[in-house]
């Protein structure tokens, strides 16, 4: 039973690290690329269009981060019921 618990804790931790790592990498890379392109090329378009870029940038990162964190929540909730790590 104790061995089973530790296996489940370890399995969930690995999934959590994967999820957090992926989200952080996404924010870092996407943020860097969008910032660099708009820094060098943004002056070619009217400033109001920059808001469109900002809105979709925030939507993409926000929804994906919430969605992937929800995956972790779902795994934690059902891992014993569906025996994910047996």
């Amino acid at each position: 039973m104790v061995e089973n618990d530790s296996r489940y804790k370890s399995g969930l931790m690995k999934d959590t690290y994967l999820i957090i790592g992926a989200i952080l990498l996404l924010i870092a890379v996407e943020g860097y690329v969008v910032y660099m392109i708009l820094y060098y090329a943004g002056s070619a378009v009217p400033s109001w269009i920059m808001i469109v870029y900002l809105v979709f940038f925030l939507l993409a990162l926000g929804i994906e981060s919430i969605g992937y964190w929800q995956v972790r929540h779902s795994i934690k909730q059902h891992m014993h019921e569906f025996r994910y790590y047996d």
């Binding site: 890379v29 070619a44 378009v45």
Partner: protein, 464 residues
């Protein structure tokens, strides 16, 4: 045909989250090695960035819908089965055919590109026999077993993705010279209308990621593997798309739309050549080859599952629904992909076929979120047997995804109006034909027996 084969136990359940990742990313990553750069030809660097962000947002929302639907239904047909269960038989057949066309056209295109690459390396080779060999080999691998096919995809996709990462960080950390002036000079060559026009090629960055959920029936733990693998795949593609756009736009000029990055056949490979570093040139050449193979391989897997699901429900001949007694694969549906892919490859209208594939994909992106909205209405309670993964912010993101998909589809009217009209007529005819043929089927659907679910809310039973 024997009854033992038809009544055989079903598809093998052995896939893990990394197989789901490999299936999704394997199909799509080719779009980051080639094809995405048409956004540059239409809208310059800023048009491409906008297309990437808008299409990326749409695909994130669709992938979340697909994760919820895939982990709930656990069926091989993916979008077809979701439409069948929650919308109706007409929509189901249209989506099933759309998925089949989308992937099999892509398989044909990928195989031809592999043959051209092989000919560039070994000029004595001819394109026709190499294309046949690629299609036949991948069909055989998929015939032998889904685990072997997707493990191969995992290895090829991982190498191709590492090539992009290595290229990006090599440039960022100064291993070769970047040219930021290219970003400004090629920012917006066709004016503001170009930003809007670029949207029609935005799906190239992510086209097909919804297919990751189509292996749900073959997963060991689908309620963990599908959302974990598919969302990891979505993040991989977002990162890959951003890195690809950045390094290519820095290294290849795009100030004249008819030249440079906008019309490049292999943009990542050409960007690597512009870097002047031999190991990057070799690595990106290998990545281009592997990503075409993994895309074609994943397409055989997904298109055969869609055909298998259509056959299992008698939308097409039931003969195709046989499962191999030893390998536990839908082997007749797998083998049937081969003549169709060959016919597409040598039709001489491959560009038209690819456009038809994109329109088919966009049709799916309208119907997948709609299926989720119906699913939520029919089964509102979040019990684990029905909905083990609850995607967030629903139904708002489903409606928003549909709005973006329709907007992108409308941009195809400029330049591809006949393809768009032909595809819409084709699917409309399919809708009414299959709706009339199969409407009795849904009225007698036993949710408890077929899905192990309670009956749906009375106010939202499919009307078809």
């Amino acid at each position: 045909m024997t009854d033992e084969i038809i009544e055989s136990p079903g598809l093998v359940k052995s896939l893990r989250p990394y197989h789901v990742w490999a299936l999704g990313v394997g199909i799509v990553l080719v779009g980051e090695y080639m094809g995405w750069n048409f956004t540059i030809a239409k809208g310059g660097v800023l048009g491409s960035l906008l297309a990437m962000l808008v299409a990326g947002t749409m695909y994130i929302m669709i992938a979340l819908c697909a994760s919820e639907l895939g982990s709930a239904t656990k069926l091989a047909g993916g979008p077809y089965d979701w439409a069948r269960l929650f919308i109706g038989p007409g929509a189901a057949a249209s989506v099933g055919l759309a998925v089949y066309m989308e992937y099999i056209a892509l398989e044909a295109a990928d195989s031809i590109v592999v043959a051209f690459l092989a000919q560039e390396i070994f000029p004595e080779l001819q394109v026709f026999p190499v294309t046949l060999l690629v299609i036949a080999t991948l069909t055989f691998i998929n015939y032998r077993g889904v685990v072997a096919a997707l493990t191969l995809n995992f290895i090829m996709t991982a190498i191709a993705f590492v090539a992009i990462i290595t290229f990006f960080f090599s440039g960022t950390f100064g291993l070769f010279e970047m040219h930021p002036e290219n970003l400004f000079q090629g920012a917006i060559p066709n004016g503001l209308i170009g930003l809007f026009a670029a949207l029609q090629f935005g799906p190239w960055f992510f086209l097909g990621i919804e297919g990751a959920a189509m292996c749900a029936e073959e997963c060991k733990y689908p309620s963990r593997a599908v959302p974990l693998g598919q969302q990891a795949g979505m993040i991989t593609l977002l990162i890959g798309a951003a890195m690809t756009l950045y390094v290519c736009a820095m290294l290849i000029p795009s100030d004249i739309p008819a030249q440079g990055l906008g019309v490049s056949v292999y943009p990542l490979f050409e960007a690597a050549q512009a870097s002047g570093l031999y190991f990057l040139i070799a690595f990106l050449a290998l990545g281009t080859l592997l990503t075409c193979l993994s895309s074609a391989n994943g397409c055989v897997c997904d298109s055969s599952r869609s055909w298998f699901a259509l056959s299992r429900d008698h939308f097409v001949s039931h003969w195709f629904s046989a499962v191999h007694p030893k390998y536990q694969t839908p082997y007749r549906a797998v083998i049937f992909t081969m003549p169709i892919a060959i016919a597409f490859a040598f039709s001489g209208f491959l560009d038209q076929v690819i456009t038809f594939s994109i329109v088919s994909g966009l049709l799916c992106y309208v119907l997948i979120p709609f299926a989720l909205i119906r699913f939520r209405k029919m089964f509102p309670s979040h019990i684990s047997t029905v909905r083990p993964f609850v995607s967030p912010l629903q139904p708002w993101i489903a409606w928003f995804a549909m709005a973006i998909a329709i907007t992108i589809m409308s941009t195809l009217f400029w330049g591809y109006r006949y393809n768009l009209l032909f595809a819409l007529v084709f699917y409309l005819v399919a809708y009414f034909y299959f709706h009339n043929k199969h409407k009795k089927y849904m009225k007698h659907f036993d949710w408890q027996k077929e899905m192990g679910w309670p009956n749906p809310s009375h106010h939202a039973v499919p009307k078809e």
